[in-house]
Symmetry: C2
Subunit: 151 residues, 2 copies
Protein backbone atom coordinates (compact mmCIF):
# COMPACT_ATOMS: atom_id res chain seq x y z
CA UNK A 1 0.00 0.00 0.00
CA UNK A 2 1.33 3.43 -0.95
CA UNK A 3 2.58 5.63 1.88
CA UNK A 4 2.70 9.44 1.80
CA UNK A 5 5.02 11.51 3.97
CA UNK A 6 3.95 15.01 5.03
CA UNK A 7 4.59 17.50 7.84
CA UNK A 8 2.98 16.69 11.17
CA UNK A 9 -0.12 18.59 12.35
CA UNK A 10 -1.35 18.97 15.96
CA UNK A 11 -4.34 16.79 15.01
CA UNK A 12 -1.93 13.89 14.40
CA UNK A 13 -1.16 13.66 18.11
CA UNK A 14 -3.89 11.20 19.06
CA UNK A 15 -3.14 9.05 15.99
CA UNK A 16 0.51 8.79 16.94
CA UNK A 17 0.46 8.58 20.74
CA UNK A 18 -1.85 5.54 20.80
CA UNK A 19 0.83 3.47 19.03
CA UNK A 20 3.97 4.65 20.76
CA UNK A 21 4.29 2.19 23.65
CA UNK A 22 3.34 -0.77 21.41
CA UNK A 23 5.77 0.18 18.64
CA UNK A 24 8.56 0.36 21.25
CA UNK A 25 7.93 -3.19 22.41
CA UNK A 26 5.78 -2.23 25.38
CA UNK A 27 8.20 0.30 26.92
CA UNK A 28 6.48 3.29 28.54
CA UNK A 29 7.44 5.89 25.94
CA UNK A 30 4.29 8.04 25.62
CA UNK A 31 5.09 10.44 28.52
CA UNK A 32 8.26 11.50 26.69
CA UNK A 33 6.18 12.69 23.75
CA UNK A 34 3.87 15.49 24.93
CA UNK A 35 1.68 17.25 22.38
CA UNK A 36 3.93 20.33 22.32
CA UNK A 37 6.18 18.70 19.71
CA UNK A 38 3.23 18.37 17.31
CA UNK A 39 2.31 22.04 17.75
CA UNK A 40 5.63 23.84 17.88
CA UNK A 41 7.94 21.76 15.68
CA UNK A 42 5.79 21.06 12.62
CA UNK A 43 8.40 22.12 10.07
CA UNK A 44 10.92 19.49 11.22
CA UNK A 45 8.46 16.68 12.04
CA UNK A 46 6.74 14.24 9.71
CA UNK A 47 4.06 11.56 9.57
CA UNK A 48 3.72 8.78 7.01
CA UNK A 49 0.12 7.88 6.13
CA UNK A 50 -1.06 4.76 4.33
CA UNK A 51 -3.68 5.09 1.58
CA UNK A 52 -6.32 3.75 3.98
CA UNK A 53 -5.61 6.58 6.43
CA UNK A 54 -3.76 4.51 9.02
CA UNK A 55 -0.39 5.55 10.40
CA UNK A 56 2.72 3.96 8.89
CA UNK A 57 5.34 5.97 10.76
CA UNK A 58 6.43 9.33 12.14
CA UNK A 59 9.48 11.41 12.99
CA UNK A 60 9.58 14.22 15.58
CA UNK A 61 12.58 16.53 15.37
CA UNK A 62 13.64 20.12 15.85
CA UNK A 63 16.44 22.59 15.24
CA UNK A 64 18.63 23.14 18.29
CA UNK A 65 18.14 26.64 19.69
CA UNK A 66 21.50 26.41 21.50
CA UNK A 67 23.71 25.23 18.65
CA UNK A 68 22.95 26.70 15.18
CA UNK A 69 24.70 23.77 13.48
CA UNK A 70 22.67 21.01 15.10
CA UNK A 71 19.29 19.42 14.44
CA UNK A 72 17.88 16.80 16.82
CA UNK A 73 15.54 13.84 16.34
CA UNK A 74 13.49 13.08 19.44
CA UNK A 75 11.34 10.19 18.17
CA UNK A 76 11.23 8.09 15.02
CA UNK A 77 8.75 5.23 14.82
CA UNK A 78 7.68 2.85 12.07
CA UNK A 79 4.68 0.51 12.34
CA UNK A 80 5.87 -3.07 12.99
CA UNK A 81 4.42 -4.31 9.68
CA UNK A 82 6.21 -1.55 7.73
CA UNK A 83 9.67 -2.30 9.12
CA UNK A 84 12.26 -3.20 6.52
CA UNK A 85 10.38 -1.23 3.84
CA UNK A 86 12.79 1.70 3.84
CA UNK A 87 10.20 4.01 5.42
CA UNK A 88 12.40 4.89 8.40
CA UNK A 89 15.16 5.95 6.02
CA UNK A 90 12.70 8.01 3.98
CA UNK A 91 11.48 9.81 7.10
CA UNK A 92 15.07 10.59 8.06
CA UNK A 93 15.81 11.83 4.52
CA UNK A 94 12.96 14.33 4.82
CA UNK A 95 14.44 15.48 8.11
CA UNK A 96 18.02 15.70 6.77
CA UNK A 97 16.85 17.80 3.82
CA UNK A 98 14.87 20.17 6.05
CA UNK A 99 17.78 20.47 8.49
CA UNK A 100 20.22 21.24 5.68
CA UNK A 101 17.93 23.89 4.22
CA UNK A 102 18.03 25.50 7.69
CA UNK A 103 21.83 25.49 7.64
CA UNK A 104 22.33 22.54 9.99
CA UNK A 105 25.35 20.30 9.46
CA UNK A 106 24.97 17.82 12.32
CA UNK A 107 22.05 15.59 13.34
CA UNK A 108 21.96 14.16 16.82
CA UNK A 109 19.66 11.71 18.58
CA UNK A 110 19.83 9.28 21.50
CA UNK A 111 18.54 5.75 21.87
CA UNK A 112 18.35 3.17 24.63
CA UNK A 113 21.32 0.76 24.75
CA UNK A 114 18.89 -2.20 24.83
CA UNK A 115 17.19 -1.11 21.59
CA UNK A 116 19.27 -3.21 19.20
CA UNK A 117 16.95 -2.53 16.24
CA UNK A 118 17.34 1.21 16.69
CA UNK A 119 21.12 0.95 16.98
CA UNK A 120 21.34 -1.13 13.78
CA UNK A 121 18.97 1.21 11.94
CA UNK A 122 20.96 4.32 12.89
CA UNK A 123 24.23 2.59 12.02
CA UNK A 124 22.88 1.83 8.53
CA UNK A 125 21.92 5.49 8.15
CA UNK A 126 25.47 6.59 8.90
CA UNK A 127 25.11 7.64 12.53
CA UNK A 128 28.13 7.16 14.75
CA UNK A 129 27.99 6.16 18.40
CA UNK A 130 29.74 8.89 20.35
CA UNK A 131 29.21 7.62 23.88
CA UNK A 132 27.00 5.62 26.21
CA UNK A 133 25.81 7.93 28.99
CA UNK A 134 24.47 6.43 32.22
CA UNK A 135 21.39 7.97 33.85
CA UNK A 136 21.18 10.31 30.85
CA UNK A 137 17.42 10.80 31.05
CA UNK A 138 17.11 10.26 34.78
CA UNK A 139 18.02 7.41 37.10
CA UNK A 140 18.45 4.14 35.19
CA UNK A 141 17.73 5.69 31.79
CA UNK A 142 21.02 5.20 29.98
CA UNK A 143 21.34 6.40 26.40
CA UNK A 144 23.62 5.86 23.42
CA UNK A 145 24.49 9.27 21.94
CA UNK A 146 24.38 9.19 18.14
CA UNK A 147 25.55 11.78 15.61
CA UNK A 148 25.62 12.07 11.84
CA UNK A 149 27.30 14.85 9.88
CA UNK A 150 25.31 16.13 6.90
CA UNK A 151 27.45 16.52 3.77
CA UNK B 1 19.40 33.31 51.28
CA UNK B 2 20.20 35.11 48.02
CA UNK B 3 19.14 33.40 44.81
CA UNK B 4 20.77 33.91 41.42
CA UNK B 5 19.02 33.23 38.10
CA UNK B 6 21.10 32.18 35.09
CA UNK B 7 20.67 30.23 31.85
CA UNK B 8 20.42 26.47 32.18
CA UNK B 9 23.37 24.22 31.29
CA UNK B 10 23.24 20.51 30.35
CA UNK B 11 25.04 19.78 33.62
CA UNK B 12 22.00 21.11 35.53
CA UNK B 13 19.91 18.15 34.37
CA UNK B 14 20.69 15.81 37.28
CA UNK B 15 20.24 18.66 39.80
CA UNK B 16 16.77 19.43 38.44
CA UNK B 17 15.36 16.03 37.55
CA UNK B 18 15.85 14.61 41.07
CA UNK B 19 13.36 17.19 42.44
CA UNK B 20 10.70 17.19 39.76
CA UNK B 21 8.30 14.52 41.01
CA UNK B 22 8.54 15.75 44.59
CA UNK B 23 7.99 19.42 43.68
CA UNK B 24 4.85 18.38 41.75
CA UNK B 25 3.34 16.69 44.80
CA UNK B 26 4.44 13.18 43.86
CA UNK B 27 3.08 13.20 40.32
CA UNK B 28 5.23 11.28 37.82
CA UNK B 29 6.56 14.29 35.91
CA UNK B 30 10.22 13.36 35.25
CA UNK B 31 9.61 11.40 32.00
CA UNK B 32 8.15 14.56 30.43
CA UNK B 33 11.45 16.35 30.96
CA UNK B 34 14.16 14.55 28.99
CA UNK B 35 17.66 16.01 28.97
CA UNK B 36 17.24 17.38 25.43
CA UNK B 37 15.60 20.53 26.81
CA UNK B 38 18.73 21.31 28.86
CA UNK B 39 20.97 20.89 25.81
CA UNK B 40 19.03 22.46 22.96
CA UNK B 41 17.00 25.24 24.62
CA UNK B 42 19.55 26.91 26.88
CA UNK B 43 18.83 30.45 25.73
CA UNK B 44 15.18 30.30 26.83
CA UNK B 45 15.64 28.16 29.97
CA UNK B 46 16.79 29.22 33.42
CA UNK B 47 17.82 27.85 36.79
CA UNK B 48 17.76 29.67 40.13
CA UNK B 49 20.61 28.75 42.48
CA UNK B 50 20.83 29.49 46.17
CA UNK B 51 24.11 30.77 47.62
CA UNK B 52 24.79 27.33 49.08
CA UNK B 53 24.59 25.76 45.61
CA UNK B 54 21.21 24.09 46.04
CA UNK B 55 18.42 24.50 43.50
CA UNK B 56 15.71 27.07 44.24
CA UNK B 57 13.81 26.79 40.96
CA UNK B 58 13.95 26.40 37.19
CA UNK B 59 12.08 27.25 34.00
CA UNK B 60 12.33 25.28 30.73
CA UNK B 61 10.99 27.03 27.65
CA UNK B 62 11.57 27.47 23.93
CA UNK B 63 10.63 29.51 20.90
CA UNK B 64 7.98 27.87 18.74
CA UNK B 65 9.41 26.78 15.38
CA UNK B 66 5.91 26.67 13.89
CA UNK B 67 4.62 30.07 14.97
CA UNK B 68 7.18 32.93 14.91
CA UNK B 69 5.05 34.94 17.36
CA UNK B 70 4.88 32.29 20.09
CA UNK B 71 7.17 31.20 22.91
CA UNK B 72 6.28 28.19 25.08
CA UNK B 73 7.02 27.26 28.69
CA UNK B 74 7.25 23.51 29.20
CA UNK B 75 8.15 23.37 32.93
CA UNK B 76 8.42 25.89 35.73
CA UNK B 77 9.22 24.66 39.22
CA UNK B 78 10.01 26.37 42.50
CA UNK B 79 11.31 24.54 45.60
CA UNK B 80 8.49 24.15 48.14
CA UNK B 81 10.30 26.29 50.73
CA UNK B 82 10.81 29.11 48.19
CA UNK B 83 7.15 29.37 47.22
CA UNK B 84 5.56 32.74 47.80
CA UNK B 85 8.96 34.47 47.52
CA UNK B 86 8.33 35.85 44.03
CA UNK B 87 10.91 33.53 42.47
CA UNK B 88 8.41 31.96 40.05
CA UNK B 89 7.50 35.42 38.79
CA UNK B 90 11.19 36.33 38.42
CA UNK B 91 11.87 33.20 36.38
CA UNK B 92 8.93 34.05 34.12
CA UNK B 93 10.18 37.65 33.77
CA UNK B 94 13.52 36.36 32.50
CA UNK B 95 11.64 34.23 29.99
CA UNK B 96 9.31 37.04 28.88
CA UNK B 97 12.27 39.34 28.29
CA UNK B 98 14.14 36.72 26.26
CA UNK B 99 11.02 35.90 24.25
CA UNK B 100 10.40 39.57 23.48
CA UNK B 101 13.99 40.09 22.38
CA UNK B 102 13.38 37.25 19.91
CA UNK B 103 10.29 39.01 18.55
CA UNK B 104 7.71 36.84 20.33
CA UNK B 105 4.41 38.44 21.36
CA UNK B 106 2.59 35.47 22.90
CA UNK B 107 3.59 33.02 25.63
CA UNK B 108 1.76 29.74 25.94
CA UNK B 109 1.89 26.91 28.44
CA UNK B 110 -0.38 24.15 29.71
CA UNK B 111 -1.07 22.86 33.18
CA UNK B 112 -3.08 20.07 34.76
CA UNK B 113 -6.64 21.07 35.78
CA UNK B 114 -6.03 19.60 39.26
CA UNK B 115 -2.96 21.80 39.84
CA UNK B 116 -4.74 24.66 41.63
CA UNK B 117 -1.47 26.31 42.73
CA UNK B 118 -0.27 26.47 39.13
CA UNK B 119 -3.58 27.89 37.92
CA UNK B 120 -3.54 30.61 40.60
CA UNK B 121 0.13 31.42 39.89
CA UNK B 122 -0.45 31.79 36.15
CA UNK B 123 -3.58 33.85 36.75
CA UNK B 124 -1.55 36.25 38.93
CA UNK B 125 1.03 36.53 36.14
CA UNK B 126 -1.66 37.58 33.65
CA UNK B 127 -2.19 34.32 31.80
CA UNK B 128 -5.69 33.64 30.49
CA UNK B 129 -7.33 30.23 30.41
CA UNK B 130 -8.23 29.58 26.79
CA UNK B 131 -9.67 26.07 27.10
CA UNK B 132 -9.60 22.81 29.00
CA UNK B 133 -8.61 20.05 26.58
CA UNK B 134 -9.35 16.43 27.48
CA UNK B 135 -6.74 13.77 26.77
CA UNK B 136 -4.44 16.57 25.62
CA UNK B 137 -1.22 14.75 26.47
CA UNK B 138 -2.57 11.24 25.99
CA UNK B 139 -5.43 9.30 27.54
CA UNK B 140 -6.55 10.84 30.82
CA UNK B 141 -4.03 13.70 30.69
CA UNK B 142 -6.29 16.75 30.45
CA UNK B 143 -4.70 20.19 30.30
CA UNK B 144 -5.73 23.79 30.81
CA UNK B 145 -4.37 25.85 27.90
CA UNK B 146 -2.92 29.18 29.08
CA UNK B 147 -1.81 32.19 27.09
CA UNK B 148 -0.36 35.60 27.88
CA UNK B 149 0.22 38.38 25.39
CA UNK B 150 3.50 40.28 25.83
CA UNK B 151 3.05 44.03 25.60
Amino acid sequence: MAVTIRHVQPSDYARVIQHVNEWWGGREMAPMLPRLFFIHFESTSFVADREDGTLAGFLIGFLSQTDPETAYVHFIGVAPDERGSGLGRELYEHFFETAQRSGRTLVRCVTAPENADSLAFHDALGFEQEAVAENYDGAGASRVLLAKRLV
